[in-house]
């Protein structure tokens, strides 16, 4: 083949790779994340219908303020006219109370909706659920929407708490072996025939018994192929949180499972509104 033909062939190979399809619900996922937010407002420069405070203007105002302050410091501040001295104190009783941080409702409307739901009420009244949702190791991982989605599945919840899985992910060598084994399994999947089963059983013989036990379970293999789950299990704090029996019960409670299905739950976790609401409940 000439150089030009090889170049054409390279283009052909790249073309063959083609486009990739985003997952179903991709656009909905984006819109859920921005739901309730408004984009930042653009400040137009002078002459285009808007105003902008340039650095020069700001410096000028700061300089003017400094001069005025210096003048009054040297010459003394003007006194209040006679007859008006007591009015500030009298007016104070009509002042509105200062707005506290808790009074300001910010963030996603769906988060607020969730925090006012029965589901949240049940979670807030369950000490174990409260503790789980306040555990930094667990909450940090829940920022990943895919993990929250995965936790709706009983098989996934069971797998995450399986001591076998905890043992593998606590051991770098075993984790590495499992990673390699899953890749090998995947390579086998594309061939998919009955002969492949025999090939798999031979290939699995090279792995330790712990990894073989995982490979033997279809639902484990499938779950571990999801990056959100793998990443969560790689996190020692997350594993430690799930090892607690009371947390496990909370994880499997109907209210928690219902929460995982609600968009507002995720929004409340991400915005820390959940933590504030639990503290205030």
């Amino acid at each position: 083949m000439t150089d030009m033909q090889q170049d054409d062939r390279l283009t052909q190979l790249l073309d063959e790779l083609g486009p990739a399809e985003p997952p179903a619900g991709f656009a909905r996922g984006v819109m859920t994340r921005i739901g309730g937010e408004r984009p930042a407002v653009r400040v137009l420069p002078f002459g285009k219908g808007g105003m902008v405070m340039t650095k020069k203007v700001m410096l000028g105002l700061a300089a003017a303020a400094a001069v005025i302050l210096a003048f009054f410091t040297v010459r003394g501040f003007p006194t209040v006219d006679r007859g008006t001295e007591g009015t500030i104190g009298a007016a104070k009783k009509y002042e509105a109370p200062q707005i506290a941080a808790a009074d300001v409702k910010t963030g996603d409307a769906s988060a607020q909706e969730f925090l006012q739901s029965d589901t949240f009420d049940k979670l807030a009244k369950d000490p174990a659920a409260r503790a789980l949702l306040s555990d930094p190791g667990f909450v940090a991982r829940l920022h990943d929407q895919k993990l929250a989605d995965a936790l709706r599945d009983q098989n996934v919840r069971d797998m995450l708490r399986d001591p076998l899985i905890a043992r593998i992910f606590s051991d770098d060598a075993l984790q590495s072996e499992l990673s390699r084994a899953l890749r090998d399994e995947l390579a086998g999947n594309v061939k998919g025939a009955a002969a492949e089963a025999a090939l798999k059983s031979n290939a699995r013989a090279q792995y330790s018994s712990a990894v073989r036990d995982v490979l033997a379970r279809e639902n484990y293999r499938s779950a571990l192929g999801r990056q959100a789950i793998w990443a969560a299990l790689s996190d020692a704090n997350f594993r430690q949180a799930l090892s607690r029996a009371d947390y496990a019960a909370a994880l499997n409670s109907p209210a928690m499972i219902a929460a995982f299905s609600q968009a507002g739950f995720q929004a409340a976790i991400r915005s820390n509104a959940m933590a504030s609401a639990l503290a205030a409940h």
Binding site: L10, P22, F26, I34
Partner: protein
């Protein structure tokens, strides 16, 4: 007020029926978003999700990471709409955000995470397997390129951007883009070896 003409552009996505056109609609949607209509952003997401996801997928070689990077790019674009200059092409601006996300994802990538391939299998098992292996080899070769070279090859072949647009998205010059593209193709050719010389 000055108006700048933006040439409509068609991104050919190698397969019939997969086209993305940048036109005045983009700017109209952006203006609606700025006016507080968040739903208008949905139209932009629908329009660019496939091409953006494809670029992310080819940059990162991982389905979940690509999904996150592309979604994050859209969310950040929405939050930063005030910084978008209407004289620019919307998708060039979007690509710039996406490339940052891809770079972040690459930096944050955890060791040992299994990367599951998502290539489709053809109906004919024998032919399908061969095609799968070939596509996997090409994706692996792209993934093995240094980041700067990967950006130009991915944006050129999968984003169908011009040299100037790639330069804009990658923060460099068109001359450097040309040079990097040449180097990237040479390296890909070397890595793909037999696949490249087989007719």
């Amino acid at each position: 007020m000055r108006f700048r003409f933006v040439r409509p552009r068609v991104i050919n996505f190698f397969e019939a029926g997969v086209y993305v056109t940048q036109n005045a609609d983009d700017i109209a949607f952006v203006q609606q978003c700025r006016a507080g209509d968040a739903a208008a952003f949905g139209a932009l997401v629908e329009r660019y999700q496939r091409v953006l996801f494809t670029v992310a997928m080819r940059m990162l070689g991982d389905y979940d990471e690509a999904t996150d990077a592309a979604q994050n790019a859209f969310v950040k674009a929405y939050r930063r709409l005030d910084t978008f200059d209407e004289g620019q092409r919307f998708f060039s601006w979007l690509y710039r955000i996406l490339l940052n996300e891809c770079l972040n994802a690459q930096r944050a990538r955890r060791r040992l995470e299994p990367l599951l391939d998502t290539v489709a299998v053809d109906a004919d098992p024998a032919r399908g397997l061969e095609a799968v292996e070939r596509r996997r080899a090409v994706q692996n070769a792209i993934s093995a390129l240094p980041y700067d070279l990967r950006v130009v090859i991915v944006l050129r072949h999968f984003g169908d951007l011009s040299y100037d647009e790639i330069a804009d998205a990658a923060g460099t010059t068109a001359a450097i883009v040309k040079s990097r593209l040449h180097t990237a193709r040479q390296k890909l050719g070397q890595m793909l070896g037999d696949l490249r010389t087989k007719p």
